[in-house]
Symmetry: D2
Subunit: 330 residues, 4 copies
Amino acid sequence: MDSKTFNVLRTHHVEYRVTDLDRAQAFYVDAVGFTVTERGADGLYLRGLEDRTHHNLILRQASEPGVAHVGFRVSSENDLDVLGQYFGTLGVDVHWETGVERALGRVLRAQDPFGFPIEFFYQVDQVPWLLQRFDLYRGAEVMRLDHVNYISPHVEEAAHWYQDHLGFQMSEYTVSVENGKDRIWGAWLHRKQTSHDLAISNGKGPRFHHASFIASSKDQILAVADRLAALGYVDNIERGPGRHGTTNAFFLYLRDPDGNRIELFTGDYLLADPDWEPIRWDLEDPQRQTFWGAPAPKRWFDESMVTFDWNENPMPTTNPILPDRPIMVD
Amino acid sequence: MDSKTFNVLRTHHVEYRVTDLDRAQAFYVDAVGFTVTERGADGLYLRGLEDRTHHNLILRQASEPGVAHVGFRVSSENDLDVLGQYFGTLGVDVHWETGVERALGRVLRAQDPFGFPIEFFYQVDQVPWLLQRFDLYRGAEVMRLDHVNYISPHVEEAAHWYQDHLGFQMSEYTVSVENGKDRIWGAWLHRKQTSHDLAISNGKGPRFHHASFIASSKDQILAVADRLAALGYVDNIERGPGRHGTTNAFFLYLRDPDGNRIELFTGDYLLADPDWEPIRWDLEDPQRQTFWGAPAPKRWFDESMVTFDWNENPMPTTNPILPDRPIMVD
Amino acid sequence: MDSKTFNVLRTHHVEYRVTDLDRAQAFYVDAVGFTVTERGADGLYLRGLEDRTHHNLILRQASEPGVAHVGFRVSSENDLDVLGQYFGTLGVDVHWETGVERALGRVLRAQDPFGFPIEFFYQVDQVPWLLQRFDLYRGAEVMRLDHVNYISPHVEEAAHWYQDHLGFQMSEYTVSVENGKDRIWGAWLHRKQTSHDLAISNGKGPRFHHASFIASSKDQILAVADRLAALGYVDNIERGPGRHGTTNAFFLYLRDPDGNRIELFTGDYLLADPDWEPIRWDLEDPQRQTFWGAPAPKRWFDESMVTFDWNENPMPTTNPILPDRPIMVD
Amino acid sequence: MDSKTFNVLRTHHVEYRVTDLDRAQAFYVDAVGFTVTERGADGLYLRGLEDRTHHNLILRQASEPGVAHVGFRVSSENDLDVLGQYFGTLGVDVHWETGVERALGRVLRAQDPFGFPIEFFYQVDQVPWLLQRFDLYRGAEVMRLDHVNYISPHVEEAAHWYQDHLGFQMSEYTVSVENGKDRIWGAWLHRKQTSHDLAISNGKGPRFHHASFIASSKDQILAVADRLAALGYVDNIERGPGRHGTTNAFFLYLRDPDGNRIELFTGDYLLADPDWEPIRWDLEDPQRQTFWGAPAPKRWFDESMVTFDWNENPMPTTNPILPDRPIMVD
């Protein structure tokens, strides 16, 4: 398979399930700083200040929280057809939709072999660019989606699959050393020229750890922590602000009122050269997780988002073989 | 006169004259980030996020713009009486008011010998502290009044008067060297423990150059420039962002829709020791004005605010003997 | 006693005991960003970029770590004599020194009734101001000493003593509510016009929790965390960056290579009015400690610095009656 | 020509001519914050903290200042051969070099039809990544090269040439409206996924306006202005800090001790989608140049760097037909 015959541009959006749209809007829009593109009975379509396409986050009204799907944009309508055929040769079931998701054209939907509901499309409505509408900047000043983070008991296989079949490249990875041999415990994969579009971490899955959105600066990540605390969202601040060793991310992790998790993120690097040598981290290196050394809180490691299939059933999960978190002593 | 028998705490507020209250509110509150304490037919009473007293800026409805008065807070009601008597011995006319200015108790009003309308009071209404109401932070995140800047043809005398009679101390000064002798061209005077409560610059006066308010950080000074530009206030951005040599201020100068001037300011230092040796700057040192070297725009030097007496008449002005601005070549 | 007959200006410096001067210099100067004024066989005299006096931190060569004394500056030589006599009337033992501590004139030394070694002086050598020597800014860009934090089983009594006898004012306090009655668990006291010069917390003591130094900005507090981590000091980063509810401090706590603790601090407020109503916090309010909710690590609460008397003997300690830390669940 | 048969990755480096290497190193490395990879008799090879290849700026010892060449990296050795042949079909003279420029493999050198000396290569030595060596961060914390800015009397043609033949895409452009018709006055072109690799502005040329390097943040751009001023480089600060309307760049322009110009830049956006509609700016819109309204200093517009051919002769220049700068009134 030549990955050049289609081109996955980037992770474009994610759909979260929320049980109360008003409550979700108060959190994501008024407090955190997302921009509303559109709201309907079915849900909220949000975007960032830097986005020129319709949405990077859909909050859909549902009976239970969790993640509904991840959307990837490709380079053209023709790419979609090529990709649909290619999935056929791989034995991946696909179905096509049009008009189900607002603002998109034809959509190719599938579940990857590891159980994650993914969709691909080219056509999407353009919306006004708000980059210089500084009067609308608020909270973390959410700019755009950066990546999503899957949890899977099959990290190594999943990372290979996205590289071999969808043309992702590995920027960094974490290993659990077993009998002197590196086993991939976490993988950072990208299509656009940043450190990641997709991260995959070891754990009981398929589950979803978080979607990560670019905040305008470290200052705004600090500012949104202050803002959330002032608004009574102190329990929604789960971890950070801090810096990851991996990808150099300056981060803040939040739980929305339904328990869904997002990361606010800045401090990434550009990755434009094809001969990038992936950076290796040892699972037991405490600076991998937090460059400044503080351990992550237990719930950040132990809790994850339920992943639903396209029929809105929660995916059954499997336990991992590798340790599901590093050994830590507070 | 022992200045310890009364204690001027600090420059507490300033009153500006504006011709359109709604327009002024849109600028100062919605764009720049002041907090409204109260609005009446007579005007707007604004404060900063750090303030615990009722107002640091009054915008009073008037037929012409300009400055109406500067308010200084003293330590006690008794201080007011002592000060009133002391002004009598100096031949300064005073009058007492109660109930004219919202939120204040007894007010002692005067004009200093150089023509500036000043008032003193102790009692002032306390208001909720918003320092940790980060959800209300906006624009420059105006924290508090820092200082006012007079323009006078008698800088040296005025600086001595505030030091000799009101207990101000000099933190920094600018000299014009004439025949090898320092002539004071600008003076930075303080009562509270920062670099200034009152600056006096050489020029045709009595006029008023600006009132200066503390912004929460350099970042927020950059952010408010972006915000003002996005809101169509680009012509209201007069100078900066930049850093003054004098007082190390990181600054942005704005003109309100009536042409009144404010400075947004951060980066000051603490000055708590009594043996502070004032810092001397030469008028011809370009880094005095802008530490990074860029000259101030002409209108910043040439335009100033009309100062009104207590009867609302503009004060007549006198030309200075010293050069009214440094010689500059772009 | 009229506190106006002498004037304690501010907490001026602290002396820490370190077992290896070179190792301490690498940490405090090269990594954290203190400025060396002078180094002798006896120790290092450090200051901040904003300081105009000789030192704000002495690191003295000693066999064991801990705190040796806290130095307060007064307004004049006469103040020292008045204070010495006043301590006599209080039954506090004093002794006078000259020439023992570099750069100081006459020094009045005592232990307060709670066991803390304190000294007072007026005369101190002036040193070059580095505020605009931006080429020397490094690490946290340490500007000046802000405050020291004692640990005592007698917080309420100690807070009263510093207020009644040395003219401190209370800016904020924490209470443990016992049978519906507020018991002072922590006190923030100041002389200079910021939230504190001296904090006192409940616990086994006399012990010393930390000295706190002003960093130039939140950004530099983040930057020094990165710098320390890059230099291998990851275990020296104890807590933060974060924001305290009390005093609104944006903080980072560090342990030096001997285990002595410092805080890097920014985000304080100005407190220039005499009628400040102290802010009350409840010990059980999680936002008191960390405004963003994350609990402090156990060692931050449980470990403190040994306090030595003027004969270099460790002070015996007493257990507190109030709970020594809030009940927390991770 | 199918641009997919070779792939220009990005603008990789620029070579400046300097007359005094020590003086240049003091400026670029000690003051501004570039990293030295290597220094030889011929010159200095510098890079940024984020770079993994050998150099992004060469400072070559020469008798007169100016720009010597711009280097573009391509995707493979094969791309070089394809590109060499393609230039042949276009009538562009090329020559191959190996071993002339340190750290590069085979180099394809040419002058574009507008006179700019350009080179292409794939192979380049990898060097240690310093992204998390925060102890080495200094000055503007230069991360990587962003773009170069040509001056040409043939902007429209040059922009077409880079798009048609080298696969560049236009992100933004400025027009001079003549008789109701848009004439391209400035063009922002990119290969990597940011707003530009190459900008071309109207003026007497071929000349070179600047190379632009990414600083780590707005704060560090302010910090380097302070640092430069403190080190005596105040005349080297030419323009800013400020924000451009075009590309949203937060900028600072510097002149090196030889008069060569660099921009320090942050605040860019990601541009990963193929259907990007270029943003149009009118030459007479003052916010195009400075979003906050302040005009650029005259020398920023009027002075440019001499461009040398591969034989080290200055290129002859031609005057533009369009106005060479917007009409401005201070």
